[in-house]
Amino acid sequence: MSTLNIGGSQLDASWFLLLSAVLFGLGAIGVLVRRNPLVILISIELMLNAANLTLVAFARQLENIEGQLFALMSMTVAAAEAVVGLAILVDIFRVRDAEDIDDLSELRG
Amino acid sequence: MTTEIGQGITVTKTGEQGAFGGELLTINFGPHHPSTHGVLRLIVDLDGEQVRRLKPVIGYLHTGIEKQAEALRWQQVVVVTDRHDYLSPPFNNLSYALAVEKLLGVEVPPRANALRVIMCELTRISSHLVWLGTSGIELGASTMLMYCFRERDTILDMNEEISGFRMHTSYIRPGGVMADATPRFLELLDRFCNQMPGNIDEYEALLTMNPIFRSRTIGIGRLPAEDAKVLGATGPMLRGSGVPWDLRKSMPYSGYESYDFEVATSDLCDCYGRYLVRIKEMRESVKILRQALDGLPDGPVNIDDRKVLPPPREELETSMEAVIHHFKLFTEGYTVPAGDAYAAVESGRGENGCYVVSDGTHKPRRVKFRSASFVNLQPLERMAMNHMVADMVAIIGTADAVLGDVDR
């Protein structure tokens, strides 16, 4: 295992990966368990965040800025995803109350 | 589903679908809301922020003035007339006095007429100043209020000088006026006439060309001339729609025919038009004041009728007859020949009329105040339709309804 020198103290790189994995897992549980479409979107954002953490951690570990660049790009994508997802949700909620994701299984409004 | 929230406001979800997709939200504006000019209550259906339906609910300031007037003697009624349109007491006094004088068949001396005109025009300015100040604050320009009320304060000081009271002067009475003008009043009036145009320039510098103010008012609350006429609007509401109808010119009273002034109109038919009309009216009022002051005729300020007005103080000491008149006048009052009469004056808000019915006794049988605010409030729904909530506030502002006058 490798350590990172941060502000004079040594931090193991795998800790960051572990945190990322836990967050990713929580997000995955959220997507699978929760029924409210809004919360599912939120959980997806959580998973994206966890992935970003990995990217930034590896960027530091490999001393390569590209990881950070990729994190930035994924943030952009997340923003785009959130915007479109919310727009769809608002559109659906206008027509009917969708408190359960299963209510949205049909494409017809 | 109705929920009670702050300010005595209730929100009801109607469940109806608005055109924007969302539900129509029924919001209860008032009766105690900062921008409803006192106690107007509006039940507004909102679609997003757009007004889809609006229903004014009035009566929260119903004072029973007409009933009270029936219980008082003819000269005491003057006191309650002051208080219905509380921004323009002299107009209320004047319309009542004119109606009673019509029934009595008397004509007041020219000096009284000139003093009545002076008081009315001063009040027109002060009433417009209140309108301008409160409209300003409704649109967020708090400084307007301060500047307008500063000038209004000088007018109220003049009221105090001539009548002894700031707001409810009871100055104009059937048969003449309360008392002659003091030299200091005339001096103050002269100074006021010199200063006021500069102050109006200042208001205009703050608002007239201001792009924010213009975009908040131009095209907002349109009331085309034809609609305004049909809906019975009078005063600046009608003139703001381009109809040059002003009782002072159209059906002159109290010697208005001898003054040179213009009737302010605007073709814009919107809030901005009404603003321009009122600003112009203030300038014209200053012009009238100047003419009235320069050409103030000499002579008595009251009719010489011991049956209607008390004798002068000096006579009480010398004449027994005067003492008897004095006693009779204050214990029983005077009687007015049976009949009915309507007299209207152009107040700051429009046609302020008074319909009195006498049954020949010392108390009126019926006193009906025809209030401009009551009529001008009715087109509100029409004007505010499909505008935003913020515009609705501006529209209520330019309707310039005095709720005391609406509810009486």
């Binding site: - | 008082l72 005491q76 006191v79 309650v80 400084t143 500047y147 500063r150 000081d157 105090e160 000088e161 001539i162 009548s163 002894g164 009271f165 409810h168 009871s170 008392a179 003091t182 200091r184 200042e202 205009e204 510098a205 703050l206 608002l207 007239t208 060309m209 201001n210 792009p211 213009r214 131009i218 095209g219 605007s266 073709d267 814009l268 901005y272 038009g273 321009l276 600003i279 112009k280 300038r283 008390p310 103080r313 009480l316 003492v323 004095h326 006693f327 204050f330 214990t331």
Partner: protein, 171 residues
């Protein structure tokens, strides 16, 4: 505005420069006001004088010899549109002479909280006994304090009469 009505009434769309100019004019106006003196009356330290006709607190006047002017005729109570004056008259006697006429007001009360300061009582009074003075600071904390009795309404005795009475008391 007053001069070129025709021009102003047409809603032209002003240019951006005009808009900015208007905004600056507004700013200039408020700034110039900022550096002018305040118009405030520094109440309570500083009070503007009231006009001679001011209708404030009521007074019952006396003659110079200390006798009350009021003759208990109740004209003021009759003239009052509010009915907030209560007068109960009594006969003057030689031992107890309060006013110069036949009668005087035994009870004279005004409910100041109901009073609307219209001045009709002053107009009605044939002997100028009740007058409205220039005082206006009448606020108080309870309803009862607003029923002004005759003692409260009466002007103090003229100093010479008061001095005479005082000396009489001592003896």
């Amino acid at each position: 505005m007053a001069d070129d009505k025709k021009d102003e009434d047409k809603p032209r769309q002003p240019s951006v420069a005009q808009d900015v100019g208007a905004l600056l004019t507004g700013l200039k106006t408020t700034l110039s006001e900022t550096f002018r003196p305040v118009v405030t009356t520094m109440y309570p330290e500083d009070k503007t004088p009231r006009s001679e006709r001011y209708r404030g607190r009521h007074y019952l006047r006396r003659y110079e010899n200390g006798l009350e002017r009021c003759i208990g005729c109740e004209l003021c109570a009759a003239a009052c549109p509010v009915g907030c004056i209560l007068v109960i008259a009594a006969e003057n006697t030689d031992e107890n002479r309060v006013s110069p006429g036949e009668r005087y007001a035994k009870t004279y009360e005004i409910n100041m909280l109901r009073c609307i300061f219209c001045g009709y009582c002053e107009e009605a009074c044939p002997v100028q006994a009740i007058v409205l003075g220039p005082e206006y600071e009448l606020s108080d904390t309870s309803r009862e304090k607003f029923i002004y009795t005759k003692e409260k309404l009466l002007e103090p005795l003229p100093p010479d009469v008061q001095a005479r009475l005082d000396s009489k008391d001592k003896t």
